[in-house]
Symmetry: C2
Subunit: 221 residues, 2 copies
DNA sequence: TTTCATCTTGACCATACGGTCAGGAAATGA
DNA sequence: TCATTTCCTGACCGTATGGTCAAGATGAAA
């Protein structure tokens, strides 16, 4: 899974350079620094949101000077958009991998498992998206329409089919998916709160067990 | 329910005035303007987060000048803290009202219903808290420890008792509560996303039906 | 080693923003 | 009516922040 996000990051790293002709190979330095910047930016943006983050913070976290960062990206906004673009694919992978040929209940439970795993392994990514959507997704609206919506339409249709075939209990597929997002991402986005309420106790295994029970009871026939 | 939040707002309105002696009655103008400011601030903070909101925005939304706002509140931070303080009680009311003397399943379903209703009626409040907790709850840490934690401890103990008495199916009470928060608040906090994915279709009734099914299947014996 | 492109930075700029203040306008009340 | 408190504002200030730029440092290629 680290692979997934890594790959996505690498992909976006190969994007248009500032003034360079398109399709020119990026130097090693360029690759290294772009990756540094994006990783630092993920850290900062996910903790403070877009508006609450400063270029100086990102520069410090990346170990580069501010003007140097502006050498690789045209501005704060472009860094943010690059991050969102680069992480989107990895973020949607679990849903994309729900397999029409698989056993319905297993597929859903596997999806829940993967999502929860991502919340644990990549809380920064989760919070980055949460922040963005909370603010009305000003820098992500196209993504929602063009990438997310078709995917959700496809998968809700699949679930609907499964239900019609009597292989899953009856539920509204859209709300089912929303609930998976909500329950799994909650552990990353609201970690501070959960930390306090669970003081010290183990969180993840309990969550895993709970969610498996939840969706098994909901969907089993 | 409007009553609840209104009352809470009024309560916090009666707080310490800038330089006035404590326990002096606030004038009508003072009441009116403080309420205006807090309502405007709720609007702005819930849409842009603390850092992303400016006093000028709040002033404009309240129909007052910036210095005039600083006449009523010592600064941006105090407005924000006042809001959180004033809304906390109303926010926790649904959980507080879970009745040990009631029928377990009914009580939980009623709780879910109330929470979902709040997400629909008071999305701004939901987003305000979501924003704050996402950023690590810097202005809310005491509340979490002093108000939320004891309440959650009490209610999880109650649920545990219900389960031990064989009146609810076995589940981890903490994760149960987390899931209720997650699934209900999701409809307010991620409304932008849901709007896109449900384009036009009715959201709330579907959510209501889905969540009732979800928790009924999870908790029924 | 020289040359050229790439990379890096200190100094600087313009704007936005939180906050102050002196003084004026409105209420309040005697 | 006048006096006093409460309320309101234009003008202003210091700092933070996004962004620019000219010039220098550091590679890569010959």
């Amino acid at each position: 899974m680290t692979q997934d996000v890594g790959t996505a990051l690498r992909t976006l790293t190969e994007n248009r350079m500032n003034q360079t002709d398109p399709a020119s190979k990026p130097s090693l330095i360029q690759q290294r620094n772009r990756k540094r910047i994006l990783d630092a930016a993920l850290d900062v943006f996910s903790r403070h949101g877009f508006r609450g983050s400063t270029l100086d913070q990102i520069a410090a976290a990346a170990g580069l000077s501010k003007p140097n960062i502006l050498y690789y990206f045209s501005g704060k906004e472009e860094i943010h958009v690059s991050l969102l673009n680069g992480l989107m694919d990895a973020w949607l992978a679990p849903l994309r991998e729900v397999d029409p040929a698989g056993e319905p209940l297993d597929e859903i439970l596997r999806y829940v498992h993967r999502k929860l795993e991502m919340s644990r392994e990549f809380p920064r990514e989760s919070r980055l998206f949460a922040n963005e959507i909370l603010q009305g997704a000003p820098r992500m609206a196209p993504h929602l329409e063009i990438e997310l919506k078709p995917l959700v339409d496809k998968k809700t249709a699949l679930i609907k089919r499964w239900i019609a075939e009597g292989r899953l209990a009856r539920v509204d597929p859209h709300h089912l998916i929303f609930s998976v997002w909500a329950t799994t991402q909650h552990y990353a986005d609201f970690a501070t709160q959960i930390q306090v309420l669970m003081d010290g106790r183990e969180v993840h295994e309990g969550a895993e067990a709970f969610l498996e029970t939840l969706y098994r009871r909901l969907l089993a026939l």
